[in-house]
């Protein structure tokens, strides 16, 4: 154990609530049950036509789950987000008074693009259609954040970060910053994204989708699988959480943010930006690589990304020195929501001492020198774990979570 205890309790940011809507259904328990059983939920995509595309599968929410989440006038993304946030706030025991001054930051990439696509597709075929303001408003990611703030009467700093696949990880990092620097005591951070035609078509056009369920870290991997969902974390200063007797699920030990400045869609071969993000998270948490037992990898399943992430992990931790898995192999890549969904998975792994596996990893890539926990969950004793998110544009975010009893 290194010097992480030098960090005063007063400076700590703790996680006091979690909420999830995932392809497994509503709730963080349902989510964890699916992950910890290694249940790959990827299947045929039914939300919109997929004829003529290379990949036609995804991690899609069931229609019954979606119907149960909200009212028809809300966008699919808003429904997901409100349900996840309600669970998070409830589990944290937060009341209206705390929410009045709380920050809220919800990352996303597509926002309510699905409904805007419905409008645009109809407009293309019938140009005289009158625009539907609701569809257009919901298109922008800020609309979901505004809806959440309105619904829960959240009055503090509000943001909608868009960093492609690292959007919601960045939301967690930046809200943690606001708490650490004393701007707010409490914040909701997370992300939401739904399956959209745009995203599905785009990654198909880039030939980055695997026709089969994705196989991160496998020798024969052929790309990723898309998913959807929402996850929200309640972050709080340690003092505030103690004062109100809040349940502490984990500490946010350190967060790193960096840019590759290299290529719009590809990481550099040496993964230098990802290395900097991980090292910054460690440095801010007063930790050494030896403190980290498990990394929930970005692990998309594309040839380039997995290789680059392995290079980065080897540079930071040394080959084979940390356990790694990709939960995207189980639920797909939920784009802007992925970082928050994986942060929740990482925290639940810390709580339960069970590491979620990488599905479909029948033949590990020998160029990836890590135990990637194939197929079945792995019991482990762990204090600290890292969650990585890397997005288009070269946006890297690493988050480190700590079991709350460790540094207390």
């Amino acid at each position: 154990m290194s010097q992480r205890h030098v960090r005063d309790d007063e400076c700590r940011v703790v996680v006091t609530g979690l909420g999830v809507v995932s392809p497994y259904g509503r709730g963080s328990q349902v989510y964890w049950q699916g992950l910890s059983q290694g249940h790959c939920i990827l299947g045929p995509l039914r939300l919109f036509p997929t004829d003529g595309f290379r990949s036609r599968i995804a991690g899609e929410m069931s229609a019954a789950t979606v119907r149960a989440l909200g009212t028809a006038h809300q966008s699919r993304a808003t429904r997901f987000l409100l349900a996840a946030a309600q669970e998070a706030v409830c589990s944290a025991g937060l009341g209206p008074a705390e929410l009045t001054t709380a920050a809220v930051s919800i990352g996303g990439a597509g926002g309510g693009m699905l409904e805007a696509e419905d409008w645009y597709w109809a407009r293309y075929h019938q140009p005289q259609d009158t625009p539907k303001p609701v569809a257009l408003r919901s298109m922008l990611p800020t609309n979901q954040t505004d809806a959440l703030a309105f619904h829960l009467r959240i009055g503090g700093p509000r943001e909608s970060p868009v960093l492609a696949c690292s959007s919601s990880a960045a939301a967690i990092a930046t809200v943690a910053d606001l708490i650490e620097t004393g701007v707010v005591e409490v914040g909701l951070a997370g992300g939401v994204d739904t399956l959209t035609r745009l995203c599905f078509m785009g990654f198909n056009a880039l030939k980055l989708l695997d026709p089969q369920p994705c196989r991160p870290f496998a020798r024969d991997r052929r790309g990723m699988s898309l998913g959807e969902g929402a996850a929200v974390l309640v972050l709080e200063s340690w003092q505030h959480a103690v004062a109100r007797g809040a349940p502490m699920r984990a500490s946010v030990a350190g967060c790193g943010l960096s840019s590759d400045a290299f290529h719009p869609t590809a990481p550099p071969a040496d993964a230098e930006g990802a290395v900097r993000a991980m090292r910054e998270a460690l440095a801010r948490g007063h930790m050494t690589p030896a403190d980290i037992t498990y990394v929930n990898a970005h692990g998309t399943g594309t040839v380039q990304n997995d290789r680059a992430e392995a290079v980065a992990l080897a540079a930071v931790f040394g080959a084979g020195n940390v356990l790694v898995s990709s939960t995207k192999s189980l639920i797909g890549h939920a784009m802007g929501a992925a970082g928050a969904l994986e942060a929740v998975a990482t925290i639940l792994a810390l709580e339960t001492g069970l590491l979620p596996p990488t599905a479909n990893l029948w033949e590990p890539d020998p160029a990836i020198p890590f135990d990637c926990i194939p197929h079945t969950p792995r019991p482990a004793t762990l204090d600290c774990a890292m969650s990585n998110s890397f997005g288009f544009g070269g946006q890297n975010v690493s988050l480190i979570f700590l079991r709350p009893d460790v540094a207390g």
Binding site: L140, F150, S259, G394
Partner: protein
Amino acid sequence: MWLGDPMMTRPASRAVITGIGCVSPFGVGGYDLVAEVLKANVTAIQPLAGFPTAGLASCLGAEVPAACLPLTEEARRWSRLSQMTVLACRQAVAEAGLCSSAALGQVGLVVGSQFGDLRSTEAFSLGFLRKGPLGLSPLLFPSTVMNAMAGMTSIALGLKGPMLTLNQSGVAGELAVARAMALLRAGRAPAVIACGVDELFPLLYETLVQLRVPSPRGSGEEACRPFDRRHNGPILGEGATAVVLELPEHARARGAPTLAEVRSACWGGIPTRPGRFPILRDRQYPVLDQALTDAAVRPDDVGMAYLSSCGDPQHDAIELACMAATFGPNGPLLTSVTHLTGEYGGLGTFRVAAAAATVRQGISPRLDYLCQPIRTDVRFATQPVTQPPAVALVHGLARGGVHTAILVGRL
């Protein structure tokens, strides 16, 4: 990796502005261009030339001329919106004297945008609608994600610090500045570029006109007249303005030019139904109060206020009510830039640049169209100011309820 200044014992709450870059209907430039635009007080609003508006109820806008955008080999790979962003940021770092790759490697970037690159999104979608899966362009897809402008800028300039894109209606530029300040405060970078950007394009313009967002709503002449009884909606504009914000000690250590100081930047949210303006009740302006407290500035010290109101009657009324309640009848001179530049979500960084010119040289835009103000218990900037105010406020209020207050002071 920059992990803060070990000599700093408390979080930085102030920053200096060391460079400005602006791509606008008035041309491309830095601080001097912004100062000239304010001084001349001549509008860029005119009938749109970039695309047809026949059959629409509106035809005016403030467009960035095609000649302003680069024709280099490098720029051909970027979307129009990315070109504007890169150009503005490049100008800003040049003015700030941040030239070496080592210096730029530590710099962070926050881009604020209301609509992002919808032009690329539409072009990408049309490929499919016209030709099916084979019509999709893999080159266009990355630009459809709203962080593409930031990604392209970081690549073009070699920025390796934290990079965020914030989506926000109305006050995306102000929010970019506030978040950049928060990154400095958290010790994530010694300097951060805040850039607000948005563009006009046919589908968006046509749709907003059909939704009766811009002027003229109802009867009356098509015009941008914030705070005047004849106001009947905004005129849409476009552009990108980048502001380099830097920790004072970092700027001092490298001998950087300093234009003004951001003394505080606060933001919050008034819970409001999405798409609507908030209903403000008496003295419910904690963001404004906090900004004054953080900056250790009394309301009387604020000599000029740049408001986000752009001629939307409801927006104008709410923001003026906020000013009247906070500052009273002898409060700051209230002004706007939208009658010059048109309105777009990322305009807030231009307002911050303008505020820097106001406190530095006493230059400010004049609301010379204002003959029937909607309130008489506040003061409007209808004449040139006689001397530079010590502090200028950049105030923002958006649909959905996001509220921002940035105080810019003279050095």
